[in-house]
Symmetry: C2
């Protein structure tokens, strides 16, 4: 019998690799269920919950929409989206974490009956930086920005605008009260992400919401498969 041998443990610590693995599992699960999933990202106060509420109201008779709310603390948003017609909603409290991660969404998905949903909106924590690095298993990344935040957000936070599949410019009702150069904003977006769709809306007045909701519904239809033909009960 020989003596003890050297035991080598290679520890590869990659939080992002583990996150991407979990995101892949979420994505397969959501694809199988035919649930179009949107990662809603924005700075604090851009109007993420308001956009979700408006989207729920616009799609009330056309799609079954679930919501996962990511917040550092509290559950007021979940109460708000349920009141606005969400079929189901789960609150994630990140406990101080500045972004959602795939394993949090994995845990929240176990609380939802995906067979009863056509669309799932994931409201990320308010942050224009960190969420870009953490895939959740979503089909589409949405970057929401409020006109009051200024026309320079694409220049200042380029990665968020570069990775997003769709941009929504909110609070256009304030555009005449702030120094917002729409052409400069759109040019900056195009430079980072040519061809990305940009919707201009006001969650306060409802302007532009119908166009945005119609686009979202078309994306859901494009998912195809049996799930896409589900009729809303």
């Amino acid at each position: 019998m020989s003596g003890p041998t050297v035991k080598i443990v290679n520890i590869v610590e990659s939080l992002l690799i583990n996150n991407d693995l979990a995101a892949g599992r979420n994505q397969r699960r959501l694809a199988e269920a035919g649930v179009l999933t949107i990662n809603v990202m924005a700075a604090p106060g851009a109007g993420k919950t308001s956009l979700i509420v408006r989207t729920l109201e616009a799609l009330r008779d056309q799609a079954r929409v679930g919501v996962i709310e990511g917040d550092i603390a509290g559950s007021v948003d979940t109460e708000r989206v349920l009141a606005a017609g969400a079929r189901d909603a789960v609150q994630i409290n990140t406990g101080g974490n500045c972004h959602l991660e795939a394993n949090m969404v994995d845990r929240a998905l176990t609380e939802l009956d995906l067979s009863q949903l056509d669309l799932l909106l994931l409201e990320n924590v308010g942050n224009l930086v960190c969420p870009t690095h953490w895939a959740l298993g979503e089909h589409l990344k949405l970057c929401l920005v409020g006109a009051a935040e200024g026309d320079d957000k694409p220049v200042k936070y380029p990665e968020m605008f570069a990775v997003s599949d769709v941009i929504v410019l909110n609070k256009i009702d304030l555009i005449d009260h702030v120094d917002f150069n729409r052409e400069f904003f759109l040019e900056s977006v195009r430079a980072l992400n040519p061809g990305v769709p940009v919707f201009e809306v006001s969650c306060r007045t409802g302007a532009g919401i119908a166009e945005w909701a119609a686009w979202l519904l078309a994306q859901r239809a494009a998912l195809g498969g049996a799930a896409a033909t589900t009729e809303v009960a």
Copy 2:
């Protein structure tokens, strides 16, 4: 001669402990130089650079103000604050990092002649979460929030409001165009941070800036020591 002995290296990896050590060094350096230093924290688009520009204009003949600009990319803010009268300014590009850290400020301080400054404004990366955990060596933490972000920011991002030494509510010129409940906002702030001073300003119109700048100057005077008696050249 005996054989090789077991060598034990205790690796205590604590990024935050290392940061706090560097922050302590910065703080001693700034205290010795009598430079009152403010960590300006806010969500993207709240108006950090605009507040700094307004403060520079208000204090032009009363204090020598330096600025360290923290941005993920670009140097437009540094050009803007120099044009507005900053005695000196340094741009930190965080390379994607979502907050300033003390070693970045340490490096930037080597570019400034502290003997020529009374005040130093550190503009953090736009983020209401991550900067709260990273001390920079500042005397005061400032939380800036725009009225267009909504009255619920203290409830949604409690730690930022709890750790701050002063709150500035910006964009009060928009308050009649958004659904902002001032009493609810102030009550939420007081619940997290009783007695914290709150200034209401509009960087667009200049409203409230004189009161804010006077308070800042009083904080500088309270630092005391020889430095406090420096006259502006």
